[in-house]
Amino acid sequence: MLKFVVRRLMMLVVTLFVASFAIYSAMYLAPGNPIAALLGGRTPTPEAIAVLEERYHLNDPFIVRYLRWVGGALRGDFGVSIQLRQEVSTLISQRIGTTVQLVLYASLIIVVVGVALGIVGGLRKGVLDNVVIVATTVSAAVPSFVASIILLSVFAVNLGWFPALGTGEGFVDQLRHLTLPAVALAFSSIALVARITRSAVREELSREHVQTAVSRGIPYRTVVRRHVMRNAAIPITTVVGITVASLFAASAVVERAFSLNGIGAYLIQAALSKDIAVVQGISLVIVAIFVVVNAIVDFLYAVLDPRVSLGASAA
């Protein structure tokens, strides 16, 4: 088990380095001139350009600039925002709380609703299963920006049950403000989790070892809990993990629709205003979260499936 963890952590570090390089070079190659963005349309003197290039190290070779950036990122320093002239790390930390809350809330909805729908569809054949299939097909087809608009118009504007914009103050008020965004963010992922859960439950139900348990007189509910759900938890964990990890990136659309001040909405804003240091910083944070969540899922996987850790120690 220890070997497995160490190996997995090393993979995580390598992945992060590769990702950071990809992010940095993508930004480097992207069209647009940071100095022009900085000056906002004024025509600079050559001396001014030279000063700015010196200050932002724009004349150093690519690899030197990358290493300087990665070295800073390792210490939590992502540089300075050209637009706001503030530390990128400060700007991110002011906004990341909202995103984390939103993603956690949406994840909770995805797990509870998705897994519940999947279990119902998997165990019950007939009408209930068909309802689940239709519902998940519909929700899978609705992108989060459409879900946001519908939820806003129905529950915020027409019914007035939830606020339309902002994050709110205090826990209960925040929860109220985040409910619609969380539902919008969760909407299509619920379908994915429900479908995977349904087919995992179906598959486990048809396993021979489930028949063994039935033949020994174990009550049906216990068989479902100890054998069907226990074994189906392995694929369910995988899909939930990947879904939750990808929500950090997907939240950008929803945050913008509901005017939430999170890192996703800020990423869009920074990209539009060519605030390269911010885009790089947020991208790296999102990738890091994705990679870490995936590593956690892998550890869970090893805990849930005894065959996995053996494979790793034998390798």
Binding site: R216, I218, H227, P306, R307
Partner: protein
């Protein structure tokens, strides 16, 4: 009548196969006395396993069945709740493939003691102690360590011993052994079979032993029944079946065995391929492969008639008696 412990009366099972209900078992009747072992022999798809599943109430979803299965005088289909759990404890199943039939993510200890802990209110420690002593009986000495392991850490032979030990934990009165050695390699087959046979005899359990090995069935069973296309075609004491087969199909099976003590000759084979019950021709199910076929065999389906202490489903059984084996040898 009264000595029957397990009795099947005209059991017919139909399964939904590619959209329509098809007969997989047709009019199967036999009985097993207390302490008796009965072998059920047949080719793949002949309905052997389905018979065991009908007894154990493990028919696949959507199955339709008629006829009666009586266990200790009770109609198995009518059992519910506590009575059903009691039945499940008294009838233990040893499955063919232990690796598929044991949950891979739970420990051997969980698997073995689950029924005792769940249905018999035995404490975890007591159940584990009992499991260890039964593991010792099936030849696994370090039982305590094995209980902590997962199925993938054990070989197929060990797992099947675990399966047998587990089946015996609830002290059943009837064992349904569904090809318990087929998934094992040849060297472990005989060990596992010997253990199963010995433990069964010691405990005086009844057994329905399903195999496609006529020889093996003869070695461990008092009586042997032969199935073809979802029907019983012959059912007699194992030695009589072997020396004096009454049904042409049985004679074909006997003739298709290699002999260990004689000269090596080309083995005779039954022409054609095995039929499932729903593919069987009208009249006698075996008529399209039988070398002794006459018009009667196509016109009407023979009934399972008593003959010489057993029973046989063949119009020409009396007439062909004693001539079948030469026929098979030349056919």
């Amino acid at each position: 009548m009264s000595d029957a412990f397990l009795e099947l009366q005209q059991v017919t099972v139909r399964l939904p196969i590619s959209g329509e209900l098809r007969t997989v078992l047709h009019d199967v009747s036999f009985r097993i006395a207390p302490g008796e072992a009965v072998g059920l022999v047949g080719e793949s798809g002949s309905g052997k396993s389905m018979t065991a599943r009908a007894v154990a109430r493990l028919l696949p979803p959507g199955a339709e069945s008629s006829g009666t299965v009586l266990f200790a005088g009770n109609d198995v289909a009518a059992l519910k709740g506590a009575a059903l759990r009691a039945f499940r404890a008294e009838v233990a199943v040893v499955f063919q493939d232990p690796r598929a039939h044991i949950n891979p993510v739970r420990t051997i200890g969980d698997f073995m003691t689950e029924a005792l802990r769940t249905n018999h209110d035995v404490s975890r420690a007591d159940a584990a102690a009992k499991a260890v002593s039964l593991l010792a009986e099936v030849g696994i000495a370090d039982g305590q360590r094995r209980l902590e392991q997962h199925p993938h850490e054990l070989s197929g032979g060990l797992l099947q011993r675990v399966m047998i030990a587990t089946a015996l934990l609830t002290e059943p009165k009837l064992l349904l052994a569904d090809e318990p050695t087929t998934a094992l390699d040849v060297t472990t087959q005989s060990d596992v079979m010997a253990i199963l046979d010995e433990l069964r005899r010691e405990r005086g359990m009844s057994m329905l032993f399903i195999t496609h090995d006529l020889e093996l069935a003869g070695a461990v069973c008092d009586r042997t029944a032969v199935m073809y296309a979802g029907q019983l075609v012959e059912e007699r004491t194992s030695s009589a079946l072997h020396d004096d087969p009454l049904h042409p199909y049985t004679a074909g099976l006997v003739g298709a065995r290699p002999r260990i003590d004689g000269d090596v000759v080309r083995l005779s084979a039954i022409p054609g391929r095995p039929r499932s019950a729903f593919e069987a021709p009208a009249g006698c199910a075996f008529n399209d492969r039988c070398v002794h076929v006459v018009d009667d065999c196509v016109a009407s389906r023979p009934a399972l008639e008593p003959l010489d202490g057993g029973s046989v489903r063949c119009h020409r059984a009396v007439e062909l008696r004693g001539r079948l084996q030469e026929g098979a040898a030349h056919g």
